[in-house]
């Protein structure tokens, strides 16, 4: 059974969202997602300052198996990206909810996060897969 931290929010497309305060959220992909993708070999991140909208494909996570898009879970501005992933994409596999984070986003409307799945909802969504 996959680890799904209770304090995070999720999308059905396997992104997780962690509130950092002041309308800023950290985003990555779930343990379940990295398990499906297999060993990560490249992660192409957006540029800091990019304005993105919910559902935009803004990251390419390329694993040994396939190239997969990672979507913006909410609209806002990219404040930071995880540059460690440039040399160590395997952090997404080894620590998906921690050192494997992908980007930080300043929400246009922080309440948008409330509409995302909670841990229970996400678990149900992957059970249906």
């Amino acid at each position: 059974m996959s680890n799904i931290p209770k304090e995070l929010r999720y999308t059905a497309t396997h992104e997780w969202v962690r509130p950092e305060g002041d309308g800023v959220f950290t985003v990555g992909i779930t343990e379940h997602a990295q398990d499906l993708l297999g060993d990560m070999v490249f992660v192409e991140l957006p540029d800091v300052g990019d304005e993105v909208s919910t559902g935009d494909d803004i990251v390419v996570a390329e694993s040994v198996k396939a190239a997969s898009d990672v979507y913006a879970p909410i609209s806002g501005e990219i404040l930071a990206v995880n540059e460690e992933l440039e040399d160590s994409p395997e952090l997404v596999n080894s620590d998906p909810f921690g050192d494997g984070w992908m980007f930080k986003i300043k929400a246009e409307d922080a309440s948008e996060v409330e509409s995302l799945l909670d841990a229970e909802g996400y678990e149900e969504s992957i059970d249906e897969d």
Binding site: D39, V41, E62, V64, K65, A67, N93
Partner: protein, 342 residues
């Protein structure tokens, strides 16, 4: 686990990249029991195989020597690629792919008509491939003294029956090692003893990245019944002499050779991104296709095989995620014995 032509097989046991490195740097093992083993025996076994295969088993004179060959249809397309072991002119063992099992067996039987030969699938066997620079040393720990003696000094591409095991110095990784044929009933115990000897289990994922680094074709991807062996880097497996040996597909091949065919090349991309099978290729000489592509764990960047016009230059463009990316063209071989050959 995935359903691999009716066999439940793991893509990876843990990290696919770690499994890959284990084979390049130490020793890994693959359960390749899905491979189809067929013994070909009878007074006309040699005549039959000289008719059936594009490579010539008459070249095999030493007991146990193996040969890689394509098995072609009349149109010169590749029905399958295989390894044949020679024991004597009346006794051979053939190992073909699992994906093509039914059509291969049908073809083997159909072509046997008129030859005094028995074609016997050996479904009672399993097969374990132990590969890597330390594979032999570790495998020897589980061999009996008699088996160790039987394989001592055995050159690459040989096989020997040693007590209950058939042990061959063949493989699909570009590393030294053995492919071991064992009775199904003893296979789990052998696997367990290899595990205790420090051999790491590896799945289909690592098997694919290893064979691709080694520049070895995968049937169904790099060639199939619609592709000439001349367009699949298998020209070296066709034995043209003697000219009177009229093997299946020869006439079509002679015509293809005269007219010219595409060729299979290697591609190297050192920028970010991974070349994948099916991507379109273009160059001044015309269009092509990526037949196999992957991230090479040994080299740290992407490599691929592509079927392209014979007049291809030093670079081609590949369509990746709606962009055309320029990549280098090389011979289709990337890594041997743990080292880059680029």
């Amino acid at each position: 686990m995935v359903d691999f032509f009716g066999w439940d097989m793991p893509i990876n046991y843990g990290s696919q990249i770690e499994e890959h490195h284990a084979v390049r740097q130490d020793a890994g093992m693959f359960d390749v029991s899905h491979m189809t083993i067929v013994d070909v025996q009878g007074p006309q076994a040699q005549d039959y195989l000289r008719h059936l295969l594009a490579n010539d088993v008459a070249k095999l004179t030493v007991k146990g020597k193996a040969l890689y060959s394509g098995m072609l249809n009349e149109a010169g397309g590749v029905i399958d690629d295989l390894i044949v072991y020679h024991f004597d002119a009346t006794n051979y063992r053939v190992v073909v792919n699992s994906a093509t099992r039914e059509k291969d067996l049908n073809w083997l039987n159909q072509q046997a008509e008129g030859f005094d030969v028995n074609v016997m699938p050996r479904d009672e066997f399993a097969m374990i491939a132990v590969q890597g620079p330390k594979a032999k040393e570790k495998a020897h720990q589980v061999f009996s003294p008699g088996q160790q003696e039987a394989v001592a000094g055995m050159k690459p591409f040989f096989g020997v029956q040693a007590e209950d095991l058939f042990i061959a110095t063949t493989g699909y990784t570009g590393e030294a090692g053995y492919e071991i044929i064992v009775n199904k009933t003893d296979a789990i115990a052998l696997w367990q003893r290899l595990l205790e000897a420090g051999v790491k289990p590896c799945g289909l994922g690592a098997r694919d990245t290893l064979r691709l680094e080694a520049g070895m074709n995968l049937y169904g991807q790099d060639m199939d019944e619609t592709v000439s062996p001349l367009a699949a880097n298998m020209g070296w497996t066709i034995t043209w002499e003697p000219a009177e040996r009229n093997f299946v597909g020869r006439k079509a091949l002679e015509q293809q050779k005269a007219e010219g065919t595409d060729k299979l090349v290697g591609l190297v991309m050192t920028d970010k991104g991974v070349l994948r099978a099916g991507q379109a290729v273009r160059c001044e000489a015309g269009n092509g296709v990526v037949t196999s592509g992957t991230f090479s764990p040994t080299l740290g960047h992407s490599i691929a095989m592509a079927r392209v016009p014979a007049a291809v230059g030093d670079t081609v463009e590949v369509e990746m995620r709606k962009k055309w990316v320029t990549v280098s063209v090389v011979k289709p071989s990337f890594v041997r014995n743990g080292k880059s050959v680029l």
